[in-house]
């Protein structure tokens, strides 16, 4: 598909990831470096000797995840694959060795068949090189049942939270088991659910992955542009918020009156004007259920190219997680305290 037949700013679609990384590198050269040959994004001051290093990766197309989360207080390195395609073990090994500070490395692995397999191969390669890798699986999406009849729950919005919270734990000096433990705690105490109002157009496909007429929504979506669990008529923001909150909270089953982190995410094509309408409705729903939003994240942080839509992630907080959330972070996409 010729570049110019898509509403996209690209050169050759085959080079989109490499060229995007080149742009990321010049834009944020103060905090990260990019190895264009291996296609990995590395914290500029890596390796940080004595610190547990955090590595993640996944297909491109979800920006700012993960390259936009590389920096102090979050990821030490990120590996982007082709659009919507898990990266390869070579990338993960290169990233792992680049950031290994001698205190172990944690791999944050989103639960997709490809991600799991490739990270598994990479962890074996790293073990061959004497690097201790602890792998944490993220599978927070409630849309899919985890059973013998599925590939398990997808890793979605909680990935962002796990990367921030585990990153803060690593920054404060926790050992590799503790850092992994924080990431696992996030995964256990967070749930997500998403809806789409449009499909998206991968550059190599040249057209939308599926057809979604205006006035309908895909319910229970992932982040790779595939159709959701079901299609429903599109309701109001209030109705959508109710559906998102019900799905997430009924599965998460937080304690009465629990403090929560509310992450209202745009899939990429839903503008902030609408996202804040949705977020207001989500907070109303949550407080009506007696939950107490204590931290928020609102914006496009885990996306599917230009897909219109939104997802909700709710994390049940404790004092430690709240403090780790507030800890300084300096990445392209999240920055506070520095």
């Amino acid at each position: 598909m010729a570049t110019s037949s898509m509403r996209k700013l690209l050169n050759d679609p085959e080079n989109v990831v490499r060229e995007s990384l080149a742009g990321l590198a010049v834009a944020h050269g103060d905090i990260l470096t990019v190895d264009l040959a291996t296609q990995i994004v590395v914290r500029a001051d890596a390796p940080r000797s004595g610190k547990v290093a955090l590595v993640s990766g996944g297909g491109a197309g979800h920006e700012p995840m993960h390259g936009g989360f590389v920096g102090r207080g979050m990821l030490d390195a990120a590996c982007p694959g082709a659009v919507f395609t898990s990266p390869v073990p070579d990338q993960m090994l290169a990233a792992t060795t680049a950031v290994d500070g001698g205190a172990g490395v944690v791999h944050i692995v989103k639960n997709y068949t490809g991600d799991v397999m490739n990270f598994k191969l990479a962890a074996e390669d790293a073990a061959d090189e004497g690097i201790e890798v602890e792998s944490v699986l993220i599978d927070d999406d409630v849309a899919v049942q985890d059973s013998l009849y599925t590939a398990g729950r997808r890793g979605v919005g909680a990935t962002v939270l796990a990367e921030k919270l585990a990153g803060a734990a690593a920054e404060r000096g926790d050992d590799v088991a503790a850092v992994a433990g924080i990431a696992r705690r996030v995964n256990e105490r967070a749930r997500s659910f998403g809806i789409a109002l449009s499909s998206c157009i991968p550059p190599s496909a040249g057209k939308p992955i599926f057809d979604l007429p205006a006035g309908e929504m895909e319910v229970g979506i992932g982040i790779h542009g595939e159709p959701g669990r079901r299609r429903e008529p599109l309701g109001t923001a209030r109705e959508v918020a109710a559906e998102l909150v019900e799905a997430v909270v009924s599965d998460l089953a937080p304690a009465d009156g629990a403090e929560v982190l509310v992450f209202t995410n745009s899939m990429g094509g839903t503008p902030l004007l609408e996202l804040y309408v949705l977020h207001g409705e989500i907070e109303r729903e949550l407080t009506e259920r007696g939950l107490r939003p204590a931290r928020r994240l609102v914006g496009p942080f885990i996306t599917s190219l230009e897909m219109a839509g939104a997802s909700l992630t709710v994390l049940e907080l404790d004092d430690e997680l709240a403090a780790l959330w507030d800890a300084p972070v300096h990445t392209a996409a999240l920055r506070w305290g520095v």
Binding site: F84, Y112, T113, G114, V144, T150, G225, E226
Partner: protein
């Protein structure tokens, strides 16, 4: 006695995968994320580049291992590790020998075992295993019946095609398509479709 040339097989596979990339992407759009055609096209092109750069003396088994490692290094996603492992196991099984009938049957057995070990899929889960399993069985049966290699491969290719068609009414229980639940019914699995192409390509790689 005829045998399969690894390089010719990979070249044919690359050709037919590339020619069918759009169809594979369409299948992977209905029940996936629209990258399967691009993934395998990228992978097999890298494979033929790697084989072209390899020493001529490199035996068939080592060539298959090289192909498998290249797929792992270049593809990503689910199909990279799966086909990468398949070819690596096949290569280990072949060793230095030529890829004649019996060797090919052993190689496909090993390939299938690797895919099942890595992905844990069973026949009926609506994956590449639904095409690779009958293909492997059909080749074994034909080889043990003493049929010429060309006919054995044809039987394997037909079985693969039948297996891929059998995925259409299934509900996926593995891979990305499983997220769609019942909505995966009525669509052919992309990984099964590409398996048909790869197995069929064997038929255009015969030598001797």
């Amino acid at each position: 006695m005829s045998s399969v040339s690894v390089d010719a097989w990979m070249q044919e596979a690359s050709t037919v995968i590339t020619a069918n990339a759009e169809r594979l992407t369409e299948l992977d759009s209905a029940i996936g994320d629209g990258d399967h055609g691009t993934n395998l096209t990228r992978g097999f092109r890298a494979v033929i580049e790697a084989l072209a750069a390899a020493e001529d003396e490199l035996p068939p088994g080592r060539r298959l291992i090289l192909a498998g490692k290249t797929l792992v290094s270049k593809v990503g996603g689910a199909s990279g590790p799966l086909w990468g492992t398949a070819l690596r196991r096949a290569g280990r099984s072949v060793g230095d020998a030529a890829l004649d009938g019996p060797a090919l049957a052993d190689a496909l057995d090993a390939a299938l075992a690797g895919v099942v070990e890595l992905g844990s899929a069973e026949v009926g889960d609506k994956t590449m295993v639904d095409a690779l399993t009958p293909a492997t069985q059909a080749l074994r049966t034909a080889v043990e019946a003493g049929e010429p290699l060309a006919d054995a491969i044809t039987a394997a290719a037909d079985a693969a095609a039948e297996g891929a068609r059998s995925t259409v009414p299934l509900q996926a229980r593995k891979g990305r398509a499983s997220y769609l639940g019942e909505r995966s019914i009525g669509h052919e699995d992309p990984g099964a479709a590409s398996t048909v192409l790869i197995i069929t390509a064997l038929g255009r790689a015969l030598e001797g």
